[in-house]
Symmetry: C2
């Protein structure tokens, strides 16, 4: 199992290497993903955690040429959507948790994953919490979808693929493309293109850590783990 | 470099192994992270991509005992926050992009990462796009913060640590804990505890793929990459 700097399905990269290699790819080769690779990515994406394990994501795998063309238009003509052999629409369902709750609890019971008391109480607790969120439930669903999407991205990078996270799309038009144009239950959290990179952009760099990382409180810029220890309050 | 099922700083796990090993950990050992490990996690978290590379996250590293106690209370008494040697508050800044824009562009230019035309136009394009989002900018910032948090989580898992994603906190109280109680610019996207797992929960399982993954459109349940290919529209 030779490990190359690019990774493969048989010898995927360690997490830090995948993180450091990842760039948003704007140009893809036309080659399709091997079916085994695509199945593996889907499987790893849904291993992500979610609030109450209610899995609010509804992931649409777009490979068909005509569908890709429609999605490309809904993404303001970003060429990576046209070029990539597959794009994932991470849709979310606002009310789907009600219909999956029983199955989620049953699976956890069968696997002995939850203590009996928790499994008994969970539907009531989760229902109360989900309903209390009101409009804020969308943000929670978006968070869960983004964790799953990032699982998929880093998995893809580890196997030698390129990826592109996208916020640039018209949500109503993407909903139409996946057949949910008239459904108020459905939102779109992300569009994500995956394939073999034709070329990768250069790293634009990041802000100095002390601008975005802090020790204990937002008024104390981060100076590194060892330095900070002495000055902790 | 022997690779163990647990991973280490010297031999981090491949991405798929880290994904499959990850469980939300509720009980941590008191051992602190080695400083090198913590620095590495911070470094890998901020390698995450963000809208226009504006890096809206403001990550607060909480290790101090009194601060952890306050954060634990703001997280409704979830014991993992008390037990873990470090918790990360992924705060977000609503208006911080204005003050970092020039530095982001300068760094990208110095690295030759952006074509000159793009670097020239980007501040104007990004400003227009960010301002057009209005209240929705929060959701975009949350998305960027969650990508970064997931980078941190999978990196930590690859190095043998345990992690716990948390939605269960009182946002106003967490803001107070990190010293932003009165600042309307600051939001909280996530609280994340990291340390050495005392024990890991069992996998509660996931819904069957055909409930959450779809082919081309939301009315076509996913049946696997090879099966779907023939029936694509």
């Amino acid at each position: 199992m030779a490990r190359t700097p690019e990774g493969s399905l048989d010898a995927p990269l360690p997490v830090p290497d995948a993180v450091l290699k990842r760039r948003n790819v704007r140009h893809f080769r036309p080659d399709p993903l091997a079916p085994g690779l695509l199945d593996r990515l889907v499987e790893l994406a849904v291993k992500a955690p979610s609030s109450w394990n209610l899995q609010p994501w509804r992931i649409v795998v777009v490979r068909d040429a005509a569908q890709r063309e429609r999605l490309y238009a809904a993404c303001f003509g970003q060429v990576q959507v046209r070029e990539a052999p597959v794009s994932f629409v991470f849709a979310i369902s606002q009310g789907g948790w009600r219909s999956v709750m029983d199955d989620v609890v049953r699976a956890a019971r069968e696997r002995g994953a939850w203590e009996a008391g928790y499994a008994d109480a969970m539907p009531r607790l989760a229902t109360r919490a989900q309903e209390a969120l009101g409009e804020r439930l969308r943000e929670y669903n978006v968070k869960d979808a983004l964790i799953a999407a990032t699982h998929l991205v880093l998995s893809a990078e580890s196997m030698g693929l390129g990826t592109c996270f996208m916020n640039g799309y018209d949500e109503a038009r993407v909903k139409e493309v996946v057949g949910a144009g008239a459904d108020p239950d459905v939102g779109v959290a992300l569009v994500l293109s995956v394939g073999y990179a034709e070329r990768r952009g250069r790293d634009p760099g990041r802000l100095p850590l002390e601008r975005v990382v802090f020790a204990e409180r937002l008024d104390a810029p981060w100076r590194g783990a060892a330095n900070q220890r002495a000055s902790a309050p």
